[in-house]
């Protein structure tokens, strides 16, 4: 019931909100979607997204019942792989909406011209610092922090510098930035923290200290991290998320209210995930309605325990596990978006040569 009320409130808010873009074209589209809700009834849209996408059935069903729109979800792997597939199929897109492109990959999608602009009326209810595209081709949905995690039973980590010390010999496992968006976020964090001139020195020191590199988050966390559920990991420090502790607690058997996973509040990278309308869709009104739904309070409050991310809506309440177990990093690294776009490929190349070469 609470969710239904939240949804009604969200819809009411959305209708009265005013897009604050200076661009007139997207605003015209925004009003079209608000008034054209009848025309979308019976339509099916396809959401292209990464494997981590999740929504509670009843929340999605409420959207479909209200709008008459059926949502078909296509999951294409890691966020990077999803964006690459979207670029590859640009001429005949696989879907109408793409969710999951983050701020490390953003320029790739924008440069390829994947998205049509849209200003959701609900955007005004979100933290506007996450709104990174002046042309509104993408809309922020959630944020989370890529941080160093550790096994509290075995060790304590207080800064990235610690990891160079002898006591962390053969203790750290990270993800390859070329194959994992988590790894890429951490690489960017080290560039920001140690500077363009010194970050490779840091990585060489990690290499000398026995860092293990895995292809993806699941291998690093499940197989190599000592608290990973495989139970065979030998690494007590892993690059994961500030929200790993609540995930660890919620998915324990049986669920618990504490966690042995610690998260370091140093060198965290704030990952913002976006949604956008794929260019070439013939269901733009329905696509807009879906984006409005992703910004609705119902969806935003459902996200934390589904995807372990924070809402971008300022009025969305957090579940208790998040307030008790996940300390939001106070000082994530600050990297200008254009610096990431300009250097992403170079950083990956240089990192590969330094760490894997």
């Amino acid at each position: 019931m609470r969710r239904v009320i939240a949804l009604l409130v969200a819809v009411g808010l959305g209708a009265s909100a005013i897009g604050c873009s200076s661009d007139t074209k997207p605003r015209a589209q925004a009003s079209q979607s608000a008034s054209g809700s009848e025309s979308v009834r019976g339509q099916t849209i396809t959401l292209v997204t990464h494997d981590a996408f999740a929504v509670t059935d009843s929340v999605l069903k409420a959207f479909s019942d209200r709008t008459g729109i059926t949502v078909n979800v296509v999951k294409g792997g890691d966020a990077g792989a999803v964006v690459n597939q979207a670029i590859l199929t640009k001429d005949h897109p696989q879907g109408d909406v793409l969710y999951g492109i983050d701020n490390t990959l953003l320029s790739k999608g924008l440069d390829a011209g994947l998205f049509d602009p849209y200003v959701s009326p609900s955007l005004s209810s979100t933290d506007r610092t996450f709104d990174l595209d002046a042309q509104h081709r993408i809309t922020p949905v959630d944020e989370s922090d890529v941080c160093v995690n550790y096994d509290k039973r075995a060790t304590t980590v207080s800064s990235l510098d610690d990891l160079r010390k002898p006591e962390f010999k053969d203790k750290l496992v990270v993800e390859n930035p070329a194959t994992s968006s988590t790894g890429l976020a951490f690489l960017v964090a080290t560039v920001a923290k140690f500077g363009e001139d010194h970050y490779l020195d840091y990585w060489r020191a990690l290499k000398a200290n026995g860092v293990k590199v895995d292809d993806g988050w699941d291998q690093a966390y499940n197989n190599d991290f000592t608290l990973g559920s495989g139970g065979t990991g030998s690494r007590s420090v892993v690059v994961s998320y500030a929200t790993s502790p609540p995930a660890d607690a919620l998915f324990a058997t049986p669920p618990k209210t504490t966690s042995d996973v610690g998260s370091v509040d140093d060198g965290c990278f704030r990952q913002i995930e976006f949604v956008g309308v794929l260019k070439g869709t013939s269901h733009s009104a329905a696509a807009h309605a879906f984006i409005d739904f992703m910004l609705s309070k119902a969806f935003q409050e459902d996200m934390p325990e589904q995807m372990f991310v924070y809402p971008v809506r300022t009025d969305a309440a957090l579940p208790e596990l998040f307030t008790s177990l996940a300390a939001k990093p106070a000082h994530p690294v600050d990297v200008p978006q254009d610096q990431i776009s300009a250097n992403r490929e170079k950083w990956i190349r240089d990192w590969t040569a330094a760490v894997l070469g």
Partner: protein
Amino acid sequence: MTRRTRGRGAAAVALLAGVPVVFLAVFFVWPVGHIVERGLRPNGSWDLGVVGAVLRAPSTRHLVWFTLWQAAASTLLTLALGLPGAYVVARFDFRGKALLRAAITVPFVLPTIVVASAFLGLFGTRGIFAGVVDLDGSIWAILIAHAFFNYAVVVRTVGGLWSHLDPTLDDAARTLGASRWRTLREVTWPLLRSAVASAAAIVFLFSFTSFGVVLVLGGQRYATLEVAIKRATLDRLDLPTASVLALVQLAAVVALLLSFAATSSRRGVRQRLLATGDVARRPRGRAEHWFVAANLAVMAVLLGTPIAVLVERSLHPTTGYGLDFYRALFDTPARAARFVPPLDAIRNSLEFAVVATAIALVVGGLAAFAVAGRGRGRRPLDLLLMLPLGTSAVTVGFGFLISLDRPPLDLRSSWIIVPIAHSLVAIPFVVRILVPVVRSIDDRLHEAAALLGASPARTWREVDLPIVRRAALVAAGFAFAISLGEFGATLFIARPDRPTMPVAIFRFLSQAGAANFGAAMAMSTILMVVTAAAILLIERFRTPGLGEF
């Protein structure tokens, strides 16, 4: 008579070959050609400079060399372990043999990421054998994992033919004073050679194009061409490099297959095939009992322990043992909404597997008769059929994405695309399993049938079909198992509303928390049980077949 047979053969081959050729042209050659073209002709003009650049890069040479030697080593290891196993399964009767035959096929279908996790649990730094061996990041972990996956290929392909060989040939040789070794070398080997070569070719190809095993167990140290193609395509969208590497892999595979064809150009020896019931017997004497026991021990250690680790973990929540993970799979609280309902995943997997098996049997069966015949096109056809095994799943999957996206073949949103992708992998197995059997059919049976006035169709139905039926069932079992476990191509084209069991396992593994990992292990165990049950069921249907003549 011979001339007449040949003339009829050519026409029949053309007819038989038509279906597989069209199928492969549409669902393999065109999509793969399309994606390679996209890489080499980015802006409407061919850019062949990149070919030279990639080929000259030292990293490419390393890749090719590593890919080759690890595949050769894996094949030798698998044959060394598998051939004695094939003999045991073919020649001896013992309790639980049917179950064993099904059980050894189970590893073949397991998702590589799950198996890699089990191997780390055994041989990793904190594994069960920690202190004895630490194979984490070692080449042995990769080789043993390849043997684990491919053991069944050797036992079933070679054992399939071996179980039909007439043991009186051996007895005759022994009676004439030949040693056991000489009998094996001079009597059995010539008869078995084509099946061994077939199995070796498949194991080599599988290891050559190995992806998941090398990705997880090889870490950043070892990479095959397949892994490099995946990284270039999926992670970097560096299509030019991906295309060149895909062509290198394809060229290597073609070269391998051609040399395989050249060495095994002598056909399988025409021989009298017997029903297995006449061949297998209980082990006699101490040596035979030891031999059987030793092979069962190899199977138990190589195949049994990793599976046992998986099952153990699926039953092992934080406190004691229990079915918690299985229960969690089946009740779906709100917070588990991201999960694939397990019954749906099982049903999807089974439905896809049935369709994929049907496609593979029809296309592969027609192709097997064409390849085993004497038409001129049989060599190229044989080669074409094997190519999907040598092509990266990422290349095929991405090829599907950009080439089957508009009418008349707008299949990207259709479920049929999944079983089609599965059948591409299964067809070569069907062909490889059927060809030696078809070739072994004694031509005199055809001649006798023709002499008695039977039409070619009737001859086929009443002579050829009964003989190949059993092999076809073995092939069906393989195709079914391949479809159940196929993950590579499914990942890129899985219909959203129809996730398969391997896809569900993968999704569980991409979330933190013991419950998710346990759910993945429980789902893996269910996948193993479903596979074993399916194979057992298929073998149940097998008719006395060969015993009829």
